[in-house]
Amino acid sequence: MEWNRREFLKIASATTAVTAFGGLGFDLRPAYAEGQAAKLKFTKQSTSVCCYCSVGCGLICSTDKDGKGRVVNIEGDPDHPINEGALCPKGASHYQLGNNDRRIQKVLYRAPYSENWEEKSWDWALDRIARKVKEARDGSFVTKDAKGRVVNRCEGIASVGSAAMDNEECWIYQAMLRAMGLSYVEHQARI
């Protein structure tokens, strides 16, 4: 697999460079080829799948080997039988999700009636959320319905989400919500 991909990249760099850089008046092919080679030499490659629509296009992520272990490039996986290396604009912009200063990097908290966010630690936030969950659940738990039938429901908490999670995350999320007795469990598939 690995060898095939490298072969592919070699061929691709030779052929696409002609069309991509032709007409500039000087030859960029050697620089382009060097760039491609550097990507393989100085990065570790791993495969992924696009996070946007449901076509499921394969990606190759290149991670900086010597620096801070950051992704330096993401492109289509030529071995993947669905996209065969191609990506749409969204797929091709993956890199900007990983390296983006607009990412929220701290736990944020907004107190009642406050006009601002405050930064908090994970421990502080999860402790407080757990306490809030327990209060809401214990205060709204219904053992029997109006007809006297056993229902074991927590009626004071609702959840939406998420198709943005992996299967394994979705499964434990539903397990947690159902163990708590939630009935209002919904997500993107409904809308």
Binding site: S54, T63, L97, D138, C170, R178, S183
Partner: protein
């Protein structure tokens, strides 16, 4: 999808309706164009000319909300011209079934309607049975009470002229589409139907899909290569998240959620396990108790299944808990707390202003995302005074897809494994770790302090981490399932003994006696001796290579079957109808090709053969579909907000069972001169959903920076609007601004003799970012929904457009 992306290339005719595949699933179009290169025809039917239309051989416009007349006309055309695939229809569908005497349809209403409850008693939508309990049939299809004849009579009203008057499609275009697509009824031809939210986001959404299914069954297009009903789903893992039961009505693997009328597991099983007297029906859901018990054992391995069944919350029978109801209940102040996990409902929910107000009634909200969202920051959004909003908000930052490990499932049901390529940025964490750590804390509190009914929390299987980090492999193994006790079972012809901890090789071996667990039976087989979702083997047999089948590349549910209902692709002797692109074939006493829909011999084998539609109780494709809430056959009703006062097909203007709500935010404007234009929402290539990820990606934002409204030159002239000017759109629920794009891609329709204008708007924007980007289109959309699914009607509603 019944089929998969690569399979589109096998089609002779690709019918795209309610989808703009070229722009919204761009890579899917590689396969549509490859089919076209081989001589296939592409049909696109849409209110708007798009890049999908540009590639189509046949393009036809229809007014938003008139799909059922369009399809009804096609059904009538197929039947009137004898273009259906007769052997397929007789052998593989319920066309020959005799319908109960009590079933009736009169002037837009099916038998059993209760106007007070706005609901049907569905008992008359059933079949006549003989003394042995078997369904009466007429294989000649001549009996006036057989499904085939009832179908014919039902759609007789949908003649070309009436259809055209409602859809606004010129009859010549209708004729062209009908003629082209009906040609796939020949046994050697296949046609595929591709759709997206353009079909589902209607108060008749499910019946739109039913209409397509009927067409595909009549033409023999189900189960074959290049055929099927194919939903182009909108999110990378929305297939998987649905499979894993993150909806109120289903547990993982499409097992119905228990309700209060099913107090014990035995009663649950009695009510949810279909039985049949049809000798050749596999009735696969007859196995449901095995899957339910194995699911309960995955949640609570140390409890008897009867006990852990008690742990599960029970719904109130007949009550709707779906999305729109959830926010209606929230607005009423019934919830203390709310999780908005990886989702942005303040921008994605129809009637967004109502949703945003509902959030002010919460005591607390936990929201998990990568970027600021309109949901997390709702308290400082337009029209909000933070000093008056009590809601406590926790924003938990999560990792992106390539900062964690796990699997996602695409529309073609391929479960594909992903690897981490970098550490989560800053303090962000994978969702799995956040869930794991949060529940550790909750469990800790219950262990220490007790509380309301603590047993389901204390006993939940929470062995989902290794060294306090969420372990996707552990959970994937649990979802696949393993043995909990030693068990000797027949595998093929031999006995095999499984030890505790051994993975279950397939759901065929799941048990009701508690000896197996499986978090999700349809994923059984995904993680056995190895992680099959991580496979990258492109080996194919020559037969598989012909149709682009890669059985060794990742894994597809169920049991790595790539084309569902593939037993319908062969004749009753097991011979492929389309030998050049065979999916399966019966050769020398076994099946070759794809994994067949069950191991049994072909249907002609009277003793062991089975009918192809194994998930239906009777084994047949459901032309007459008794299970839905709004009728066994699709019938045209106008959207709840529509531009016409009459329905030429009946006296029922709207779906009499549509989901709606009461209150000041629920005013609907039909034929209201203040809101004269039909509006539809849609997507663009460069953005995704509410735009949280794409609006925050600079390359994408630069390409599509702000909210716009597409309108016809005629409408622009009427309202004095120039291309590029700012306009205001308003509905009874709210208003927003957009930049006018005046384009001939949109044209007025002639509907029931009047000129009807339609406009279109993307829904990707929100007030948080960019600052001059505009707000969510959902501010305009009504909170009304389909009576089966509750999906909101965001594809057809009424607005006004004026110069800002």
């Amino acid at each position: 999808m019944t089929n998969h992306w690569i399979d589109i290339a096998n089609s002779d005719c690709i019918f795209i309706i309610g989808s703009n595949a070229a722009e919204n699933h761009p890579i899917s179009f590689k396969w549509a164009l490859r089919a076209k290169d081989k001589g296939a025809t592409i049909i696109h039917v849409d209110p708007r000319y798009t890049r999908t239309s540009q590639h189509a051989d046949v393009f036809a416009r229809l007014r938003s909300g008139s799909d059922i007349p369009f399809f009804g006309g096609l059904i009538r055309y197929i039947l009137a011209n004898n273009l259906y695939f007769k052997d397929y229809v007789v052998n593989y569908t319920n066309a020959s079934f005799i319908v109960s005497d009590k079933y009736d349809f009169k002037d837009g209403l099916f038998s059993g309607y209760d106007a007070e409850k706005r609901a049907y008693d569905k008992s008359s939508w059933s079949f006549a049975r003989d003394d042995a309990g078997q369904i009466k049939k007429d294989p000649t299809l001549r009996d006036p009470r057989c499904v085939f004849q009832i179908l014919k009579a039902h759609y007789d009203r949908y003649d070309m002229k009436s259809v055209s008057s409602v859809t606004g499609t010129p009859t010549a275009d209708l004729q062209k589409v009908y003629q082209t697509y009906a040609a796939t009824g020949k046994p050697e031809k296949s046609g595929t139907m591709l759709y997206a939210m353009g079909q589902t986001q209607h108060t008749v959404g499910v019946q739109n899909i039913r209409a397509m299914s009927i067409i595909q069954l009549l033409l023999g297009n189900m189960g074959v290569a290049g055929g099927g009903i194919n939903a182009l789903r909108g999110e990378a893992n929305v297939q998987g998240s649905t499979d894993q039961g993150l909806l109120f009505h289903i547990l993982p693997g499409y097992i119905p959620t228990p309700n209060a009328a099913m107090p014990t597991l035995a009663e649950y099983n009695a009510k949810n396990t279909p039985a049949t007297k049809e000798p050749q029906s596999a009735n696969w859901w007859g196995n449901r108790p095995k899957y339910m018990t194995s699911f309960l054992k995955s949640m609570y391995p140390n409890q008897e299944a009867d006990v852990s069944y008690d742990y599960l919350p029970k719904l109130e029978p007949g009550k709707d808990y779906s999305w729109l109801s959830l926010f209606d209940v929230m607005l009423g102040g019934a919830f203390k707390g709310f999780f908005a996990w990886g989702q942005n409902p303040a921008a994605s929910t129809a009637n967004a202003n109502k949703t945003r107000e509902a959030m002010t009634k919460l005591d607390w909200m936990v929201t998990v995302n990568m970027f600021e969202t309109e949901t997390g920051s709702f308290w400082k959004g337009p029209g909000m005074d933070p000093k008056k909003v009590k809601t406590e908000v926790f924003f938990l930052p999560c990792a992106v897809s390539f900062e964690k490990e796990g699997s996602i499932s695409n529309s073609g049901r391929w479960m594909q494994w992903r690897y981490p390529a970098q550490a989560p940025r800053g303090d962000s964490k994978p969702d799995g770790d956040i869930i794991y750590e949060l529940f550790e804390k909750i469990r800790g509190l219950y262990a220490k302090e007790g509380g309301a009914y603590p047993d389901p929390i204390k006993n939940l299987n929470w062995d989902v981490a290794t060294n306090h980090a969420f372990d996707p492999h552990k959970v994937a193994k649990l979802i696949n399932g393993y043995f909990l006790k030693e068990k000797t079972l027949k595998v093929g012809d031999a006995d095999k003994t499984f030890k505790p901890g051994d993975p279950v090789p397939s759901f065929a071996l799941l048990q009701t006696d508690g000896s197996t667990c499986s978090g999700n039976w349809i994923y059984s087989g995904s993680y056995t001796d190895k992680n099959n979702a991580a496979r990258r083997d492109k080996t194919q047999t020559p037969m598989q290579a012909k149709i682009g089948l890669y059985p060794g590349w990742t894994w597809a549910w169920p049991v790595n079957r790539r084309v569902l209902y593939n037993r319908a692709s062969v004749d009753p002797q097991g011979k492929p109808y389309q030998p050049e692109k065979a999916v399966i074939a019966w050769q020398d006493g076994k099946w070759v090709g794809d994994v067949p829909d069950g191991p049994w011999p072909p249907m002609a084998d009277q003793k062991g053969g089975k009918s192809p539609f194994i998930m239906t109780t009777e084994g047949m494709g459901l032309i007459f579909g008794p299970g839905r809430n709004d009728g066994p056959l699709p019938e045209h009703y106008e959207p709840l907000e529509c531009p016409v006062g009459d329905n030429p097909f009946s006296k029922q203007l709207h779906n009499p069972t549509a989901l709606k709500f009461a209150g000041p935010t629920e005013v609907h404007a039909s034929c209201d001169p203040r809101f004269p234009f039909v509006c539809s929402t849609y997507r663009v290539t460069e953005h995704w959903q509410t735009g949280v990820m794409t609006r925050n990606s600079p390359w994408l934002l630069e390409a599509e920076p702000q909210m716009f409204c597409e309108m016809s030159p005629e409408l622009a002239k009427m309202r004095g609007i120039q291309n590029g000017e700012k306009v205001i759109l308003e509905s009874t629920r709210g208003s927003l601004w957009a930049k006018a794009i005046v384009t001939e891609r949109i044209q007025p329709f002639t509907v029931l003799g009047q000129t009807i204008h339609q406009v279109g708007i993307p829904w990707h924007y929100g007030w948080t970012w960019p600052k001059q980007g505009g707000d969510s289109a959902n501010i305009l959309c009504p909170s009304v929904g389909d009576p089966n699914t509750g999906i909101p009607e965001t594809k057809a509603f009424m607005v006004n457009v004026r110069k800002a």
